[in-house]
């Protein structure tokens, strides 16, 4: 049972982290290559508050997410004007910089040896509830004027500007929101694993999240979530294959990218199932 629980818990945490990548890269088309760094910020800040100052979990979680958002602001402000390729470089560099800061502040963070003794405050129900809440927030965001403008700027930035969309501000708002959500994933992770190390948050995790988002669908939150579940649990099903499992995993990802060029779900959202009805109702009203 614990085995299944641990998979579900960690999958849930990954889902929340992936929501951040989805917002920045899927929804807005900005290439986030250091999203995991925000997870590190959220995790470390909250864990250190709890460890060193005895801050209660709820407050630590709040401050952790806020700190992630703040670091999102720091990275976002100068980068939103840059071209997409450069944003990938800057976010990547930010990720490496955060790791180097964590490694260098060993008195505070434990450095490379990691931060131990974080109290266990997170269990499966909390993670599941968090997934639902975060998903609700992100879905509402996508479904609001913000989401529409994001999609607009993703497809055509110039045309979006000529519709009066303040593209830079919009990117920044989305970036902040995404950082906060990813930061919260870090909080959950810290208080579940009870251990943090800087090396865990390197660019390969951010790259994994990108893979998840795009395997899920070119622009589908539903797809990103389904793909997060599949791609994080797939390696577990492949355990029998031992060292070959990563290879099988890669092949499956390649097959999907090659043969479903818009990802599994394209831009389909599960909400369309009931949205049809509301449109009809709206039409009658």
């Amino acid at each position: 049972m614990d085995y299944i629980y641990s998979i579900l818990t960690l999958t849930g945490i990954t889902m929340i982290g992936v929501m951040g990548t989805y917002m920045v890269t899927g929804l807005t088309g900005q290439f986030s290559f250091g999203q995991a760094a925000f997870m590190a910020v959220g995790g470390y800040v909250s864990a250190m508050l709890a460890l060193k100052y005895g801050v209660p979990f709820a407050l630590a979680a709040l401050i952790g997410s806020a700190a992630a958002a703040l670091s999102g602001l720091l990275v976002g402000m100068p980068t939103v004007r840059l071209r997409r390729d450069y944003i990938s470089l800057v976010t990547f560099g930010f990720g490496e910089a955060i790791i180097s800061v964590l490694n260098n502040s060993a008195q505070l963070t434990g450095g490379a040896e990691g931060l131990v003794g974080i109290p266990k405050r997170v269990d499966l129900p909390l993670v599941m509830a968090s997934v639902v809440v975060c998903l609700f927030l992100v879905a509402c965001y996508k479904n609001s004027k913000y989401g529409r403008q994001c999609l607009a700027l993703r497809t055509d930035e110039l045309a979006a500007r000529s519709m009066g969309i303040d593209v830079n501000r919009l990117k920044l708002v989305t970036f902040l929101f995404a950082s906060a959500i990813t930061g919260y994933a870090g909080v959950l992770y810290a208080f579940y694993a009870q251990y943090l190390e800087p090396g865990y948050f390197n660019w390969t995790v951010s790259a994994e999240w990108l893979i998840i988002v795009f395997v899920g669908g070119i622009n589908s939150l539903t797809g990103a979530m389904v793909s997060a579940v599949i791609l994080t649990s797939l390696p577990e099903f492949l355990r029998f294959a031992s060292a070959w499992r990563i290879i099988i995993y890669c092949i499956i990802v390649l097959l999907i990218i090659n043969f479903r060029p818009n990802g599994i779900f394209g831009d389909w959202e599960i909400s369309r199932l009931w949205k049809k009805k509301t449109t009809v109702k709206g039409g009658q009203a």
Binding site: C140, K145, Y146, L158, G282
Partner: protein, 260 residues
């Protein structure tokens, strides 16, 4: 529905822009009075689209000024200019592929939708009310251009002519004082062109905004414009009443020269 008043005075003077060593637009001036329909014509590569891009803030002008109702637009960002009341369409249609038809129109009113971030992520009543309002307006714009019933369609699935109309509806939705149409009839068949001319005239009657358009098709130019400006190699070649310009020998030469 926002009925635009008689405002919409667009004055462009001494506009210049060079790319590298090429003077794409060179000391170009024109004006459009409120409610006027102005055409800009000229051979390919004359710098017409660049003029639009300078007016809407895509590029910063090297020299010259753009005034809307006496207020300078120079140095303003593209989105600010749009919100001052300049709407536009594009030569090569630029719709938002990730959004459906209705949402495409809504993006134009979204920047001014009266709700904030927290209303959005919590889907508060303020947000839902505003979205409903926006959608309602959007549907009206769509029905104005004759796209009713296609709200849920994907823009890329529409035929070319309808995409043009959708782009027009989207430009209307920002509530413009001045609307810039970049070769709106390109790629349309003759019957669509006639329909399009009617549509623009109808919209103009209804909203009474200022229209500036770039066009090659003489049918459109002659039927729509109150005034014409001819651009050649970035410079103003001639201007005046359509008929007067049409018979201007320099203009004819510029066009014939192009055909060679």
């Amino acid at each position: 529905m926002s009925t635009t008043t008689t405002r919409g005075l667009l004055e462009v003077s001494g506009l210049s822009k060079a790319f590298g060593g090429v003077h794409a637009v060179d000391d170009f001036s024109f004006a459009a009075k409120p409610g006027e329909i102005v055409g800009i014509i000229g051979p390919n590569g004359a710098g017409k689209t660049t003029v639009f891009n300078l007016v809407t803030g895509v590029y910063a002008a090297d020299r010259g000024s753009v005034l809307l109702d006496g207020v300078s637009l120079c140095g303003r960002r593209q989105d600010q200019i749009a919100r001052e009341g300049i709407g536009r369409t594009f030569q090569n249609i630029r719709l938002f592929k990730g959004l459906n038809v209705l949402e495409n129109v809504m993006t134009a009113s979204d920047p001014t939708a009266p709700y904030g971030f927290f209303s959005a992520i919590l889907s508060l009543p303020a947000k839902r009310g505003s979205d409903r309002q926006e959608a309602k307006k959007g549907r009206e714009y769509l029905s104005l251009v004759g796209l009713s019933g296609l709200e849920d369609a994907r823009p890329e699935s529409l035929p070319y002519g309808m995409q043009r109309k959708l782009e027009l509806a989207r430009a209307l939705a920002i509530g413009p004082k001045v609307i810039l149409l970049d070769e709106p009839a390109a790629g349309l068949n003759p019957s669509e062109v006639r329909e399009f001319i009617d549509l623009v005239q109808r919209l103009h009657e209804r909203f009474n905004f200022t229209i500036v358009f770039i066009e090659h098709r003489m049918e459109v130019v002659m039927n729509l414009s109150h005034k014409l400006f001819v651009l050649s190699f970035g410079k103003l070649l001639a201007s005046g009443e359509p008929l007067e310009v049409r018979h201007n020998p320099e203009v004819i030469e510029a066009y014939i020269g192009e055909e060679d």
